[in-house]
């Protein structure tokens, strides 16, 4: 029996909410990913809705008497309201089961069952600021106790039966992968560069980046670029010190963008430790033979002769200049 057949058998139970949570989730996922079953499910729902909309017809008195006599029971009349709801649900379920059963048996006897392996298509999970998800794509099981905040209800079109529920959810997510995976690099870049959102974590993130991306083979220009941006923009001096220190130690961080960030830090960073580490990084670049442009030389020279600069920074700038052969 194919997976689709199994899922279609589960659809009536899904309609009556009689499936266990795991099976329900599995069925929903299959319906989302399989167009044929999706159509089938739509048919089930329409039928279900249609049956629910049918008017209730009171049986004729003689028919009722005959029916009761045939089952041989002395039936006490039910409370009308309960009776109607229960009977309607039962009727709907019965009809659906009959339809599904008929379909199944018709198909079963018409052709042999072939189990077609269907490769699972898992769409990539992207981390986004805002996302609209169909309710069917969301598992009804809420795991753990995520913080759900800023809840609002949306009914964009009153004529449309769909509604929306909007909220911010905070949950703990672990993304695994190689340091060189683009998703991992981008995620780290986001963590490094978003000062306001992840303030306490940023300095730890840089520590971790330094450990991980200083290893040969793990270098990525985007990480260097992110660190350069941190060096340029971060208001947190301790974080800037770590960023420049990491840039100094990280192989492959000799791009023009990195040099520019180092020059800017050397020129104008208020923290002398940042300036020292920036000029040390430039000394290392100069010694490794990285060509410096005229503007860089000019900045280094200005720094070397700047009377009110820290003496050590001036000396280091001079040493950088002595290593340069333009």
């Amino acid at each position: 029996m194919s997976e689709c057949d199994l899922m279609r058998e589960s659809m009536p139970l899904l309609l009556t909410e009689s499936l266990d949570p795991a099976q329900r989730e599995l069925t929903h996922q299959h319906i989302e990913s399989c167009a044929a079953c999706g159509d089938e499910w739509l048919g089930f729902r329409e039928t279900w809705t249609f049956l629910g909309s049918l008017p209730e017809v009171e049986p004729r008195a003689e028919l009722r008497t005959r029916f009761l006599a045939s089952i041989g029971e002395n039936v006490t009349p039910f409370a009308p309201a309960k009776s109607r709801r229960y009977m309607r649900w039962l009727a709907q379920a019965a009809a659906v089961v009959i339809i599904a059963g008929s379909s199944y048996f018709a198909g079963h006897y018409r052709a042999p069952i072939r189990i077609e392996p269907t490769p699972a298509s898992v769409s990539r999970y992207s981390i986004a600021e805002s996302r609209v998800l169909p309710a069917a794509a969301v598992s009804p099981d809420i795991e753990g106790r995520p913080n759900i905040e800023n809840v609002s209800f949306i009914d964009a079109n009153p004529d449309d039966p769909d509604i929306g529920l909007s909220f911010d959810v905070t949950s703990h997510v672990t993304v695994t992968g190689r340091p060189t995976d683009k998703s991992m690099v981008r995620l780290l870049r986001y963590v490094l560069e978003n000062e306001n959102k992840v303030s306490p974590s940023r300095s730890r993130a840089i520590d971790w980046v330094r450990t991980m991306y200083s290893k040969p083979g793990n270098t990525d220009p985007e990480i260097a670029e992110a660190l350069a941006n941190v060096l340029r923009n971060d208001s947190h001096e301790g974080v800037r010190i770590k960023a420049v220190e990491t840039l100094n130690r990280m192989p492959g961080s000799d791009s023009a963008d990195t040099r520019q960030a180092l020059m800017q830090a050397l020129k104008s960073d208020p923290n002398p430790a940042v300036r020292i580490k920036a000029v040390e990084a430039l000394v290392n670049l100069a010694r490794s033979g990285v060509p410096f442009d005229a503007a860089t030389l000019d900045t280094l020279r200005q720094k070397a002769v700047q009377g009110n600069e820290n003496v050590y920074v001036r000396v280091k700038a001079a040493e950088a200049l002595s290593s340069i052969h333009p």
């Binding site: 300095s203 001096e237 010190i241 430790a273 920074v313 000396v315």
Partner: protein, 516 residues
Amino acid sequence: MRTKTPLSCAAIALLISANAFAANVTITERLIKSLPLDVGDSVWIDNPVGNIEVVGSDTPGLVATVMRTITGVDQAALKEGSEQTVVSFEGDRNVRLIRTILPHVHSDKWTSSVSYTLRVPRTVQVKIASRISGRIRVANILGNVTVTTFTGAVILDGVVGSSLVETTNGKVFYLYRQKPTATAQVQAVNADIDVILPPDSTFNWIADTLRGDILTNLPARAEFIGNAFRGSVNGTGGPTITLQTLLGNIRVLGIGIDVRLVQNVRQTVAERRSESPLLRPSKRIQLPISGGPFDFSASIADVEVGEVRGWAHVVTAAGEIKLGTVYGDCVVTTNGGPLDLGDIMGTLTASTDAGDVQVRSAREGGRVSTAGGIIRVLYNGGPISLQSGGGDISVRQAAGSVNAETRSGDISITADSQQRTQKFQAHTQQGNISITVGPRFAADIDATVLTSRPDANAIRSDFNGLTIKREQVNGKTKIHATGKLNGGGERVELFAEEGDIHISNATASPVTMGPP
């Protein structure tokens, strides 16, 4: 007016040589050009790569001899280099501009240099801009001279007018054929500056070098203002000669005076006024063992001593200081540079105006400060105070009380596992605080986080018993945790702004370093 003279038309090819054992091919071309130039005119030479010689004469007019040398990996590269290295004669009778035009970026298959030898009327003004040269020489000129270059020797020989030289690397050599009558200024970074002049010259002298020596055999009365030497030679009056080089030496010598009379001005003045380390001659010290106390001060010095069998006192204006074991009190002060200190048996006092500080062991505790930089202490056996103007602070094994404060950075303190209670104070204006203590550590905790994130769960503790309160203070959320660990003990006071605080429980000893 701008006149470009294609060298290929005007030049005489003197030499085309190809080395049979090397792939490079070199071509040298020579051009001689005469242009009108009057006595009060100016000559500007802009030549990025190559030697320049300007010699004044009594003959009117300018005669330029240009040698253009192209080296390429093959004939095609040679041709490209030849096409892209253009010598241009521009300007008019009043201002002659001679320049070499090179592309900003060019193929690395060729290199080129152009050498100029100019004969000009000796009264003209000369202005030279260069980047790399073996030698720039200006001789016998009465007018003003300006030279700007990056590297190479600059020689001013018999220049009478005002002169200004700016260079980064290389060497500057002034030779006065007669007593100086006009101001001269040299601003260098790494270059040595030598001035030789008649012994009876009278002038005001400003000499400024951070790492080099200032030497003279002339009678100079001087004083230091900051690290600049200001004085007068052979009495007051005369022009001012300003010589500045950051790392190079400055020598002012009289012609015919015994060179054995040369004195280091910094040293002689420092003997009289020794309060500023900038006045001390710079040194590089590498010493495995100091048999007794070690007392050292210098302007710019990298100091490295393996072991000091006594107290240590080191003062520098700038430089890296590295001390291994010190069997006594240790005082280290620098105006800038990292400090790397080993096992300090006595009390430690270390401060730098900029740079990281690393201390392996401060057995009696002490005080460590940096205006900006990271402070790392592996072990402290006594009370220690740590202050950073910006940068992380970490103490890996605190067996004494710790008072750590940084303007921006994380603070991490791990208590010695033997400690049952200890006083810790940590304060960061931007950053996180992490305190790690043993499971039986007893303390009165007072932890505060001030954050702009109202939802922050900013104080975490592996211990029970903390009461956490939140309140709004000036638009920020103040999270305040108080309580007693293991029944209470010494006060642990923590304050973190825009960060978080974590009090964690460690069972293992964090480092192998042990108490004395």
